[in-house]
Amino acid sequence: MLKTICYKEWVKTRWYFLLSTLLLAAFTGYCLLNVSRIVEFKGAVHLWQVMLERDAVFIDLLAYLPVLAGLLMAVFQFIPEMQQSRLKLTLHLPYPHYRMIAAMLLYGTSMLCVTYLVSLGMIGIRFDTVVARELFARVMLTALPWYMAGLAAYFLTAWVCLEPTWKRRILDMLVGMGVLRIFFLAQAPEAYNAFLPWLALYTLLLSLLGMLSVYRFKTGEQD
């Protein structure tokens, strides 16, 4: 059934998925173009120097884009479900309710991972060829919380979209913004290194919030 559920989600989100993957790749390419320009005109030594002396990672432009991509993925996936209470159709299918929502979230997470991996892959390939392992790791570890924030934004937006009442939806939005703030507390490169495993666990736990909204939907909460 997972294949069938993913088919519906694909029909809903395929154009957004292709567009967001292309756009994020384009922005990533733009950042990496700067890196290439520095290497070409001033040499790799200068690039290393700037990275070490000024704490530059050259991909700061990407910081909030994974969040935007995650948020919009949830909007494109779950708003059509909530329009005209279409979620009733989904929950009426002969498949366990929470497993159905878990499958939908798994689809969205997988698609986002593809989008993010394209971007991270481009960053990895480019930096791997021009900087030392330590600096390569520094760029990747700096970017990782941004991409985790993207997944968190996806889970939080799904939670808000699936919530059946507006009052609670607004409250959830405020809580969600506060939760996302945690991913952007420190601007310095590698600021989250020690905290990364916890951040990953915390992001995964956010996926359970969507179930809470569905539970409220099933008990008949409405405006």
């Binding site: 088919y7 029909v11 209470s85 279409r86 009733k88 009426h92 002969p94 008949g220």
Partner: protein, 295 residues
């Protein structure tokens, strides 16, 4: 004992502090088409939502196929076709995509039944549902239910937004299918004339309670509209067996299940100044309005 597919006992529900109904009990027998009739706000959609498991009543319980709907197994839902008010479907899909999506969920899926109905619409398989008219969307929703081939169909306000042609098409197709396949149907609609051609039994909901549950034939054979002329200013008849007595200018009207002789006896006993008492058979819509009132 009656073989009821749906069995609801002592349902009580409130929205906030507003009581929708209290201790509502009813059953839907196997192989019957039962219509839930009621004015706006009497709890028709609330009942459908409770039956679909999307609303937990304040108290009471509903069983479908003997299973409590609050803990219904997913497999049981294979056997229940649900039409949501307004023929809601996945409008982001085309008619071919939606069939491909639903089919694996239902072991008795009848693809031919779906496409037979779609052929009548003269639309391409790639046509998106969002670009169809309300009438065409209703046929897609009906086609999907027919293909699902469930033993129970629950239809919420199936006539909403349909023009007379599509309403007729929907009714004829549904009735023929339900009778030929011995399906049980529980439905609501705002348009009572449609119901008369479709349903075997009806439940009339009044604010907070069930007014009656009867086969439509029995209802129409027994309920009568009484009209009379008021010869002077006087009291309106007051008896619990009279439904909504009213007078406009000097023309009086009431509905009752009593024979004329008994009605005449009550009017006389209460000193109502009347003349020209007449009774007539009514259709389902008039019976509904007569028994539930115009307001």
């Amino acid at each position: 004992m009656t073989d009821n597919i749906i069995e609801c006992r002592n349902l009580t529900h409130y929205y906030g502090k507003r009581l929708i109904y209290e201790n509502l009990s009813f059953g839907v027998p196997r192989g019957r088409i039962l219509g839930l009739l009621g004015k706006n706000g009497t709890g028709k959609t609330t009942t459908i939502n409770i039956l679909s498991g999307y609303l937990k009543p304040r108290s009471g319980a509903c069983h479908i196929f003997g299973e409590n709907i609050q803990g219904m197994a997913p497999r049981t839902r294979q056997n229940i076709g649900l039409l949501i008010e307004g023929h809601i479907q996945y409008t982001f899909m085309s008619i071919a995509q939606i069939e491909k999506f639903y089919a694996p969920f239902y072991p008795r899926w009848n693809r031919a039944a779906y496409y037979e109905l779609m052929e009548k619409l003269h639309v391409a398989p790639g046509q998106r549902i969002s670009r169809m008219s309300c009438g065409q969307r209703s046929q897609v929703a009906l086609g999907l239910i027919l293909a699902q081939n469930p033993d129970l169909l629950v239809l919420d306000d199936f006539s909403l937004g349909l023009d007379p042609g599509y309403r007729r098409l929907f009714i004829e197709y549904l009735r023929e299918y339900a009778k030929a396949e011995n399906k049980t149907v529980f439905l609501t609609s705002h348009i009572i004339q449609d119901m008369e051609q479709l349903i075997d039994d009806c439940i009339m909901l009044d604010y907070g309670k069930i007014l009656l549950q009867k086969p439509v034939g029995e209802l129409l054979d027994t309920v009568r509209q009484y009209t009379f002329t008021m010869t002077a200013a006087g009291p309106l008849p007051d008896d619990e067996r009279f439904y909504h007595p009213s007078v406009i200018r000097d023309r009086g009207e009431l509905f009752s299940f009593l024979p004329e002789a008994e009605v005449r006896g009550i009017l006389d006993a209460q000193g109502v100044p009347y003349a020209n008492l007449e009774n007539c058979r009514v259709n389902l819509e008039d019976a509904f309005i007569g028994l539930t009132g115009k307001y």
